[in-house]
Amino acid sequence: MRYETPTTTKEAATLLYKEKGQAHILAGGTDLLVRMKMGMTEPTLVVDIKHIPAMQAITKSAAGFKIGATVCGAAMTEHAALGKAWPGLVEAANLIGSDQIQGRCTMVGNLCNGSPAADSVPAMIAAGAKAIVVGKDKRRTVAVDKIVTGPGKTSLAKGEVIEAITLPARLPRSGDAYLRFTPRTEMDIAVVSAAVNLTLERGVVKTARVVLGAVAPTAVIVAKAAKAIIGTKLDDEALEKLTAACAAACNPIDDKRGTIEYRTKVAGVLAKRAAKIAYQRAGGTL
Protein backbone atom coordinates (compact mmCIF):
# COMPACT_ATOMS: atom_id res chain seq x y z
CA MET A 1 0.00 0.00 0.00
CA ARG A 2 1.34 3.40 -1.01
CA TYR A 3 0.76 6.20 1.50
CA GLU A 4 0.84 9.77 0.13
CA THR A 5 0.58 13.14 1.86
CA PRO A 6 -0.08 15.76 -0.83
CA THR A 7 -0.17 19.44 0.17
CA THR A 8 -2.71 20.67 -2.39
CA THR A 9 -6.17 19.39 -3.24
CA LYS A 10 -5.31 19.24 -6.93
CA GLU A 11 -2.29 17.07 -6.22
CA ALA A 12 -4.51 14.73 -4.16
CA ALA A 13 -7.05 14.56 -7.01
CA THR A 14 -4.33 13.76 -9.55
CA LEU A 15 -2.87 10.96 -7.40
CA LEU A 16 -6.32 9.41 -6.96
CA TYR A 17 -7.18 9.79 -10.63
CA LYS A 18 -3.99 8.11 -11.80
CA GLU A 19 -4.16 5.11 -9.47
CA LYS A 20 -5.14 1.92 -11.27
CA GLY A 21 -5.77 -0.11 -8.12
CA GLN A 22 -7.95 0.55 -5.10
CA ALA A 23 -7.44 4.17 -3.97
CA HIS A 24 -8.89 5.75 -0.84
CA ILE A 25 -8.86 9.19 0.74
CA LEU A 26 -7.88 9.20 4.40
CA ALA A 27 -9.40 11.99 6.49
CA GLY A 28 -10.08 10.92 10.10
CA GLY A 29 -9.93 7.26 9.16
CA THR A 30 -12.75 6.29 11.52
CA ASP A 31 -14.62 4.60 8.68
CA LEU A 32 -11.72 3.70 6.39
CA LEU A 33 -9.52 2.01 9.00
CA VAL A 34 -12.45 -0.04 10.30
CA ARG A 35 -13.18 -1.19 6.74
CA MET A 36 -9.50 -2.04 6.18
CA LYS A 37 -9.35 -3.93 9.47
CA MET A 38 -12.45 -5.95 8.55
CA GLY A 39 -10.97 -6.84 5.18
CA MET A 40 -13.74 -4.98 3.33
CA THR A 41 -11.15 -3.07 1.33
CA GLU A 42 -7.47 -3.60 0.55
CA PRO A 43 -6.19 -0.29 -0.77
CA THR A 44 -3.16 -0.03 -3.02
CA LEU A 45 -3.07 3.74 -2.41
CA VAL A 46 -4.13 5.81 0.58
CA VAL A 47 -4.07 9.59 0.16
CA ASP A 48 -3.90 11.34 3.53
CA ILE A 49 -5.47 14.77 2.98
CA LYS A 50 -4.56 16.20 6.41
CA HIS A 51 -1.45 17.95 5.07
CA ILE A 52 -3.48 20.18 2.72
CA PRO A 53 -3.70 23.69 4.25
CA ALA A 54 -6.84 24.60 2.24
CA MET A 55 -8.75 21.91 4.12
CA GLN A 56 -7.73 22.67 7.68
CA ALA A 57 -9.72 25.66 8.92
CA ILE A 58 -13.16 26.97 9.76
CA THR A 59 -13.47 30.46 8.24
CA LYS A 60 -16.26 33.01 8.29
CA SER A 61 -16.94 35.61 5.60
CA ALA A 62 -19.92 37.62 4.33
CA ALA A 63 -20.83 34.57 2.24
CA GLY A 64 -21.09 32.38 5.35
CA PHE A 65 -18.95 29.72 7.01
CA LYS A 66 -16.50 27.48 5.21
CA ILE A 67 -15.49 24.29 7.00
CA GLY A 68 -12.38 22.54 5.65
CA ALA A 69 -12.74 18.84 4.84
CA THR A 70 -10.23 17.74 7.50
CA VAL A 71 -11.72 19.75 10.39
CA CYS A 72 -12.60 17.17 13.06
CA GLY A 73 -15.77 17.07 15.13
CA ALA A 74 -14.02 18.28 18.28
CA ALA A 75 -12.73 21.38 16.44
CA MET A 76 -16.26 22.20 15.29
CA THR A 77 -17.55 21.97 18.87
CA GLU A 78 -14.76 24.31 20.04
CA HIS A 79 -15.67 26.98 17.45
CA ALA A 80 -17.99 29.35 19.36
CA ALA A 81 -19.18 31.42 16.36
CA LEU A 82 -20.06 28.34 14.33
CA GLY A 83 -22.03 26.89 17.24
CA LYS A 84 -23.89 30.17 17.69
CA ALA A 85 -24.95 30.38 14.04
CA TRP A 86 -25.57 26.65 13.43
CA PRO A 87 -26.18 24.92 16.77
CA GLY A 88 -28.10 22.07 15.16
CA LEU A 89 -25.34 21.27 12.70
CA VAL A 90 -22.66 21.33 15.39
CA GLU A 91 -24.76 19.09 17.64
CA ALA A 92 -25.22 16.64 14.79
CA ALA A 93 -21.48 16.48 14.08
CA ASN A 94 -20.82 16.16 17.82
CA LEU A 95 -23.05 13.07 18.01
CA ILE A 96 -20.62 11.08 15.85
CA GLY A 97 -19.02 8.54 18.19
CA SER A 98 -17.12 9.13 21.42
CA ASP A 99 -14.61 11.86 22.33
CA GLN A 100 -11.94 9.60 20.79
CA ILE A 101 -13.84 9.50 17.48
CA GLN A 102 -14.52 13.27 17.70
CA GLY A 103 -10.78 13.87 17.76
CA ARG A 104 -10.59 12.42 14.23
CA CYS A 105 -13.95 12.24 12.43
CA THR A 106 -14.89 14.75 9.74
CA MET A 107 -18.27 15.77 8.28
CA VAL A 108 -17.01 15.10 4.77
CA GLY A 109 -15.91 11.58 5.75
CA ASN A 110 -19.33 11.09 7.33
CA LEU A 111 -20.93 12.24 4.06
CA CYS A 112 -18.73 10.30 1.64
CA ASN A 113 -18.90 7.06 3.61
CA GLY A 114 -22.52 7.07 2.43
CA SER A 115 -24.25 5.61 5.48
CA PRO A 116 -28.01 6.31 5.49
CA ALA A 117 -27.66 6.91 9.26
CA ALA A 118 -24.76 9.40 9.05
CA ASP A 119 -25.52 12.00 11.71
CA SER A 120 -24.11 15.19 10.20
CA VAL A 121 -25.71 14.67 6.79
CA PRO A 122 -29.39 15.58 7.47
CA ALA A 123 -28.21 18.68 9.37
CA MET A 124 -25.90 19.74 6.50
CA ILE A 125 -28.68 19.29 3.96
CA ALA A 126 -31.19 21.17 6.14
CA ALA A 127 -28.64 24.00 6.38
CA GLY A 128 -28.39 24.19 2.58
CA ALA A 129 -24.70 23.24 2.73
CA LYS A 130 -22.64 22.95 -0.43
CA ALA A 131 -19.53 20.91 -1.15
CA ILE A 132 -16.53 22.35 -3.00
CA VAL A 133 -15.44 19.45 -5.21
CA VAL A 134 -11.97 19.44 -6.76
CA GLY A 135 -10.98 17.19 -9.66
CA LYS A 136 -7.63 17.03 -11.39
CA ASP A 137 -8.70 19.61 -13.98
CA LYS A 138 -11.66 21.49 -12.58
CA ARG A 139 -13.51 22.61 -9.48
CA ARG A 140 -17.26 22.57 -8.99
CA THR A 141 -19.71 23.40 -6.23
CA VAL A 142 -22.45 20.87 -5.51
CA ALA A 143 -25.35 20.88 -3.05
CA VAL A 144 -24.62 18.33 -0.29
CA ASP A 145 -27.89 16.50 -1.00
CA LYS A 146 -26.56 15.63 -4.47
CA ILE A 147 -23.44 13.85 -3.17
CA VAL A 148 -24.80 10.58 -1.77
CA THR A 149 -26.72 8.46 -4.28
CA GLY A 150 -27.27 5.30 -2.21
CA PRO A 151 -25.75 3.35 0.70
CA GLY A 152 -21.96 3.64 0.28
CA LYS A 153 -22.32 5.38 -3.11
CA THR A 154 -21.53 8.96 -4.11
CA SER A 155 -21.81 11.04 -7.27
CA LEU A 156 -18.11 11.98 -7.09
CA ALA A 157 -16.14 11.05 -10.22
CA LYS A 158 -12.85 9.13 -10.04
CA GLY A 159 -10.25 11.36 -8.44
CA GLU A 160 -12.68 13.98 -7.16
CA VAL A 161 -12.04 15.25 -3.65
CA ILE A 162 -14.20 17.49 -1.47
CA GLU A 163 -12.10 20.41 -0.27
CA ALA A 164 -14.61 22.09 2.04
CA ILE A 165 -18.23 22.45 3.03
CA THR A 166 -19.81 25.89 2.78
CA LEU A 167 -22.82 27.14 4.69
CA PRO A 168 -24.92 30.07 3.43
CA ALA A 169 -24.81 33.42 5.23
CA ARG A 170 -27.01 33.16 8.32
CA LEU A 171 -30.10 35.39 8.19
CA PRO A 172 -31.31 36.92 11.46
CA ARG A 173 -34.11 35.03 13.26
CA SER A 174 -32.93 31.65 12.00
CA GLY A 175 -32.48 28.41 13.92
CA ASP A 176 -31.66 24.76 13.32
CA ALA A 177 -31.87 21.55 15.29
CA TYR A 178 -31.00 17.87 14.89
CA LEU A 179 -32.34 14.96 16.90
CA ARG A 180 -31.69 11.26 16.59
CA PHE A 181 -33.11 8.23 18.30
CA THR A 182 -30.66 5.60 19.53
CA PRO A 183 -31.17 2.80 22.07
CA ARG A 184 -28.06 4.03 23.95
CA THR A 185 -27.43 7.77 24.57
CA GLU A 186 -23.80 7.66 23.34
CA MET A 187 -21.87 5.55 20.85
CA ASP A 188 -24.79 4.21 18.85
CA ILE A 189 -26.10 4.46 15.31
CA ALA A 190 -29.27 6.43 14.60
CA VAL A 191 -32.42 4.35 14.16
CA VAL A 192 -34.18 7.50 12.95
CA SER A 193 -33.06 11.13 12.81
CA ALA A 194 -34.48 14.51 11.86
CA ALA A 195 -33.01 17.92 11.07
CA VAL A 196 -34.95 21.16 10.77
CA ASN A 197 -33.66 24.57 9.71
CA LEU A 198 -35.93 27.62 9.52
CA THR A 199 -36.10 31.40 9.36
CA LEU A 200 -38.85 33.51 10.92
CA GLU A 201 -40.47 36.81 10.08
CA ARG A 202 -42.47 38.34 12.95
CA GLY A 203 -42.79 34.93 14.57
CA VAL A 204 -44.10 33.28 11.41
CA VAL A 205 -42.02 30.62 9.63
CA LYS A 206 -40.86 32.16 6.38
CA THR A 207 -38.58 29.45 5.02
CA ALA A 208 -37.95 25.93 6.29
CA ARG A 209 -36.18 22.72 5.43
CA VAL A 210 -36.96 19.35 7.00
CA VAL A 211 -34.63 16.39 6.41
CA LEU A 212 -34.87 12.83 7.73
CA GLY A 213 -32.01 10.36 8.21
CA ALA A 214 -31.93 6.54 8.50
CA VAL A 215 -35.42 6.08 7.05
CA ALA A 216 -34.43 5.55 3.41
CA PRO A 217 -31.30 4.62 1.38
CA THR A 218 -30.18 8.27 1.59
CA ALA A 219 -31.18 11.25 3.73
CA VAL A 220 -34.51 12.63 2.46
CA ILE A 221 -35.66 16.21 2.11
CA VAL A 222 -39.35 16.30 3.04
CA ALA A 223 -40.63 19.31 1.11
CA LYS A 224 -44.22 18.68 2.21
CA ALA A 225 -43.21 18.83 5.86
CA ALA A 226 -41.51 22.18 5.31
CA LYS A 227 -44.57 23.45 3.44
CA ALA A 228 -46.79 22.38 6.36
CA ILE A 229 -45.03 24.78 8.73
CA ILE A 230 -44.24 27.69 6.38
CA GLY A 231 -46.64 30.58 7.06
CA THR A 232 -47.46 29.28 10.55
CA LYS A 233 -46.35 29.87 14.13
CA LEU A 234 -46.02 26.11 14.61
CA ASP A 235 -49.59 25.67 15.85
CA ASP A 236 -50.81 22.14 16.57
CA GLU A 237 -52.43 21.76 13.16
CA ALA A 238 -49.20 22.66 11.34
CA LEU A 239 -47.20 20.26 13.50
CA GLU A 240 -49.73 17.48 12.83
CA LYS A 241 -49.32 18.02 9.09
CA LEU A 242 -45.52 18.03 9.42
CA THR A 243 -45.65 14.76 11.36
CA ALA A 244 -47.89 13.12 8.75
CA ALA A 245 -45.69 14.35 5.87
CA CYS A 246 -42.59 12.89 7.54
CA ALA A 247 -44.25 9.53 8.12
CA ALA A 248 -45.32 9.45 4.46
CA ALA A 249 -41.74 10.15 3.30
CA CYS A 250 -40.26 7.16 5.16
CA ASN A 251 -39.03 4.08 3.33
CA PRO A 252 -36.97 2.47 6.08
CA ILE A 253 -35.37 -0.90 6.57
CA ASP A 254 -36.86 -3.39 9.01
CA ASP A 255 -34.36 -4.79 11.49
CA LYS A 256 -33.84 -5.67 15.13
CA ARG A 257 -32.95 -2.08 15.98
CA GLY A 258 -36.24 -0.71 14.66
CA THR A 259 -39.21 -2.03 12.72
CA ILE A 260 -40.63 -0.15 9.73
CA GLU A 261 -43.65 0.86 11.76
CA TYR A 262 -41.51 2.11 14.63
CA ARG A 263 -39.08 4.08 12.48
CA THR A 264 -41.97 5.67 10.57
CA LYS A 265 -43.73 6.76 13.73
CA VAL A 266 -40.59 8.08 15.47
CA ALA A 267 -39.54 10.06 12.37
CA GLY A 268 -42.60 12.28 12.70
CA VAL A 269 -42.15 12.70 16.44
CA LEU A 270 -38.48 13.70 16.12
CA ALA A 271 -39.18 16.11 13.26
CA LYS A 272 -41.88 17.79 15.35
CA ARG A 273 -39.53 18.15 18.34
CA ALA A 274 -36.68 19.39 16.16
CA ALA A 275 -39.00 21.96 14.54
CA LYS A 276 -39.94 23.30 17.98
CA ILE A 277 -36.31 23.61 19.06
CA ALA A 278 -35.33 25.33 15.80
CA TYR A 279 -38.29 27.71 16.15
CA GLN A 280 -37.26 28.70 19.66
CA ARG A 281 -33.62 29.09 18.63
CA ALA A 282 -34.80 31.46 15.90
CA GLY A 283 -36.39 33.59 18.61
CA GLY A 284 -39.97 32.35 18.31
CA THR A 285 -42.10 31.66 21.39
CA LEU A 286 -44.32 28.61 21.49
Binding site: M1, R2, Y3, L26, G28, G29, T30, L33, V34, M36, K37, M38, P43, V46, D48, K50, C72, A74, G97, S98, D99, Q100, I101, Q102, G103, R104, T185, E186, M187
Partner: protein, 158 residues
Protein backbone atom coordinates in the same frame (compact mmCIF):
# COMPACT_ATOMS: atom_id res chain seq x y z
CA UNK B 1 14.33 -2.19 8.41
CA UNK B 2 11.16 -2.63 6.42
CA UNK B 3 8.59 0.02 5.71
CA UNK B 4 8.56 3.75 6.04
CA UNK B 5 10.64 5.71 8.52
CA UNK B 6 8.51 7.69 10.95
CA UNK B 7 9.93 10.48 13.13
CA UNK B 8 7.65 11.47 15.92
CA UNK B 9 7.52 12.75 19.50
CA UNK B 10 6.19 10.43 22.18
CA UNK B 11 5.60 11.74 25.71
CA UNK B 12 8.01 14.58 24.92
CA UNK B 13 10.85 12.40 23.56
CA UNK B 14 11.91 12.24 19.91
CA UNK B 15 11.33 8.70 18.63
CA UNK B 16 11.94 7.05 15.26
CA UNK B 17 10.54 3.78 14.03
CA UNK B 18 9.95 2.07 10.69
CA UNK B 19 6.65 0.42 9.90
CA UNK B 20 4.61 -0.89 6.95
CA UNK B 21 2.18 1.75 5.63
CA UNK B 22 -0.91 -0.24 6.58
CA UNK B 23 0.10 -0.85 10.20
CA UNK B 24 -1.94 0.85 12.92
CA UNK B 25 -0.25 3.27 15.29
CA UNK B 26 -1.37 0.99 18.12
CA UNK B 27 0.67 -1.87 16.66
CA UNK B 28 3.64 0.43 16.02
CA UNK B 29 3.60 1.69 19.60
CA UNK B 30 3.26 -1.76 21.10
CA UNK B 31 5.46 -3.83 18.81
CA UNK B 32 8.08 -1.39 17.55
CA UNK B 33 8.42 1.30 20.20
CA UNK B 34 7.82 -1.06 23.12
CA UNK B 35 5.09 1.05 24.71
CA UNK B 36 2.50 -1.53 25.66
CA UNK B 37 0.32 0.70 27.83
CA UNK B 38 -2.26 1.23 25.10
CA UNK B 39 -4.16 -2.02 24.64
CA UNK B 40 -6.13 -3.56 21.81
CA UNK B 41 -9.62 -4.41 23.01
CA UNK B 42 -11.59 -4.31 19.77
CA UNK B 43 -9.43 -2.78 17.05
CA UNK B 44 -12.43 -0.92 15.65
CA UNK B 45 -12.80 2.25 17.74
CA UNK B 46 -15.47 0.94 20.09
CA UNK B 47 -13.73 0.19 23.39
CA UNK B 48 -11.16 2.97 23.98
CA UNK B 49 -8.52 0.63 25.46
CA UNK B 50 -6.07 2.05 22.89
CA UNK B 51 -6.72 5.73 23.79
CA UNK B 52 -3.78 8.07 23.25
CA UNK B 53 -3.44 11.74 22.37
CA UNK B 54 -2.34 12.90 18.93
CA UNK B 55 -1.32 16.59 18.88
CA UNK B 56 -3.26 16.94 22.12
CA UNK B 57 -6.48 15.37 20.89
CA UNK B 58 -7.84 12.15 22.33
CA UNK B 59 -7.97 9.44 19.65
CA UNK B 60 -8.10 5.66 19.28
CA UNK B 61 -4.61 4.46 18.28
CA UNK B 62 -6.24 1.47 16.55
CA UNK B 63 -7.82 3.89 14.05
CA UNK B 64 -4.62 5.79 13.21
CA UNK B 65 -1.92 4.56 10.84
CA UNK B 66 1.60 4.41 12.22
CA UNK B 67 2.81 6.52 9.28
CA UNK B 68 0.37 9.28 10.24
CA UNK B 69 2.42 9.91 13.39
CA UNK B 70 5.27 11.42 11.37
CA UNK B 71 5.99 14.93 12.65
CA UNK B 72 3.26 14.80 15.25
CA UNK B 73 3.10 14.62 19.04
CA UNK B 74 1.84 11.54 20.78
CA UNK B 75 0.89 11.13 24.42
CA UNK B 76 0.41 7.71 25.99
CA UNK B 77 -0.35 6.42 29.48
CA UNK B 78 3.41 5.94 30.02
CA UNK B 79 3.69 9.75 30.01
CA UNK B 80 1.48 10.18 33.06
CA UNK B 81 4.23 9.40 35.55
CA UNK B 82 6.38 12.45 36.29
CA UNK B 83 9.77 12.13 38.01
CA UNK B 84 8.83 8.63 39.12
CA UNK B 85 5.66 9.90 40.75
CA UNK B 86 2.23 8.58 39.78
CA UNK B 87 -0.30 11.03 38.34
CA UNK B 88 -3.18 11.91 40.74
CA UNK B 89 -5.53 9.95 38.46
CA UNK B 90 -3.36 6.86 38.86
CA UNK B 91 -3.22 7.34 42.65
CA UNK B 92 -6.99 7.68 42.88
CA UNK B 93 -7.66 4.71 40.59
CA UNK B 94 -5.67 2.56 43.02
CA UNK B 95 -7.24 4.12 46.12
CA UNK B 96 -10.80 3.68 44.81
CA UNK B 97 -10.16 0.20 43.37
CA UNK B 98 -11.24 1.54 39.96
CA UNK B 99 -9.69 -1.41 38.14
CA UNK B 100 -9.87 -5.16 38.21
CA UNK B 101 -8.31 -6.88 35.20
CA UNK B 102 -6.78 -3.54 34.15
CA UNK B 103 -7.10 -3.91 30.39
CA UNK B 104 -9.28 -0.81 30.10
CA UNK B 105 -7.32 1.25 32.65
CA UNK B 106 -4.68 2.93 30.45
CA UNK B 107 -7.43 4.09 28.10
CA UNK B 108 -9.55 5.45 30.94
CA UNK B 109 -6.53 7.27 32.41
CA UNK B 110 -5.62 8.96 29.13
CA UNK B 111 -9.26 9.90 28.42
CA UNK B 112 -9.79 11.20 31.96
CA UNK B 113 -6.58 13.24 31.84
CA UNK B 114 -7.71 14.87 28.57
CA UNK B 115 -11.07 15.66 30.16
CA UNK B 116 -9.56 17.24 33.30
CA UNK B 117 -7.21 19.39 31.25
CA UNK B 118 -10.21 20.91 29.47
CA UNK B 119 -12.60 20.86 32.40
CA UNK B 120 -11.03 20.78 35.88
CA UNK B 121 -14.40 20.48 37.61
CA UNK B 122 -16.62 18.16 35.58
CA UNK B 123 -20.04 17.03 36.82
CA UNK B 124 -20.71 13.31 37.13
CA UNK B 125 -22.74 13.48 33.92
CA UNK B 126 -19.88 15.21 32.09
CA UNK B 127 -17.46 12.53 33.28
CA UNK B 128 -19.78 9.76 32.11
CA UNK B 129 -20.22 11.38 28.68
CA UNK B 130 -16.49 12.02 28.31
CA UNK B 131 -15.71 8.38 29.14
CA UNK B 132 -18.51 6.90 27.01
CA UNK B 133 -15.91 5.78 24.46
CA UNK B 134 -14.14 3.64 27.08
CA UNK B 135 -15.63 0.26 27.90
CA UNK B 136 -14.96 -1.72 31.07
CA UNK B 137 -16.16 -5.27 31.53
CA UNK B 138 -15.20 -5.52 35.20
CA UNK B 139 -15.80 -2.51 37.43
CA UNK B 140 -19.32 -1.38 36.60
CA UNK B 141 -17.93 2.15 35.98
CA UNK B 142 -19.00 3.63 39.31
CA UNK B 143 -15.60 3.33 40.95
CA UNK B 144 -13.97 4.82 37.87
CA UNK B 145 -16.26 7.86 38.05
CA UNK B 146 -15.52 8.26 41.79
CA UNK B 147 -11.78 8.01 41.16
CA UNK B 148 -11.93 10.68 38.45
CA UNK B 149 -13.93 12.96 40.76
CA UNK B 150 -11.40 12.44 43.57
CA UNK B 151 -8.46 13.09 41.24
CA UNK B 152 -10.11 16.24 39.92
CA UNK B 153 -10.51 17.50 43.48
CA UNK B 154 -6.89 16.68 44.30
CA UNK B 155 -5.64 18.40 41.15
CA UNK B 156 -7.64 21.56 41.87
CA UNK B 157 -5.81 21.91 45.18
CA UNK B 158 -2.50 22.37 43.38
Amino acid sequence: MTGVLVSTTINGDAVQFACPTDETLLDSLRNRVGLTGAKEGCGTGDCGACSITLDGRLVCACLVLGVEANGREIGTVEGLVEDGKLHPLQEKFIEHAALQCGICTPGFLVAAKTLLEKNPKPSEEQIRYALAGNLCRCTGYDKIVRAVQAAAKEMRKK
